[in-house]
């Protein structure tokens, strides 16, 4: 997970939410830029349909200062072990979170493909012995 914070800010965030995965820091947003994640405008960040989620987040987590650019749009990518992008989701609004079920489905599909060549190779080997 990449944040716009420095190591101290990122560590504070990780400790607050007890996040179990690696935290990377990009205070100058170069990685965000490299992955072509744009800045949003007021319509994408707090427009109709988003305000409800924004208020819910404020009530749940409290009001605090934005880390990094408040305009920066988020994004989610799935990358396989060969370094190939298997899923990309640049947010269309600040509340455009992809469902966890979709992410898990994509990962399961990748696992299935990773296992397939070995099964296929086993079948071919077996066929070879029969012939």
């Amino acid at each position: 997970m990449v944040t716009m914070g420095n190591p101290e800010q990122t560590t504070n965030f990780w400790n607050t939410y007890r996040l179990p995965f690696p935290g990377l820091c990009d205070p100058q947003q170069r990685a965000y830029q490299t992955y072509s994640l744009p800045d949003g405008d007021i319509r994408l960040l707090a427009g109709p349909g988003i305000l409800g989620k924004t208020f819910t987040a404020f009530f749940k987590h409290g009001v605090s200062k934005s880390i990094g650019s408040g305009l920066q749009m988020p994004g989610v990518f799935i990358i396989d072990q060969q370094g190939i992008v298997r899923y990309n989701h640049p947010y269309q609004s600040s509340a455009d979170n992809p469902p966890n079920s979709l992410i898990l489905q994509k990962l399961a599909a990748m696992k299935s493909v990773m296992e397939q060549p070995q099964e296929s190779a086993d079948i071919q080997e077996e066929d070879g012995r029969v012939q």
């Binding site: 944040t3 690696p22 200062k65 640049p90 990962l107």
Partner: protein
């Protein structure tokens, strides 16, 4: 001493509207982790598939 001007970071609204697409190679980058150590994204994806999340957060 070099007189070459430093290239400014491209303003957000001039960036391409789409990032790396499905089936394309991911862009490898070196970043600091939260402990201050330098790491590459490929350090993670070479171990197992990764979900790379670019966060917008408050805190």
């Amino acid at each position: 001493m070099s007189t070459q001007p430093v290239q400014p970071i491209q303003p957000a609204r001039q960036r391409p509207s789409v990032g790396p697409q499905e089936g394309m190679p991911a862009l490898d980058l070196q970043l600091q982790n939260k402990d201050g150590a330098k790491v590459r994204l490929s350090d993670y994806w070479q171990r197992s598939p990764i979900v790379l999340v670019f966060l917008r957060h408050f805190g």
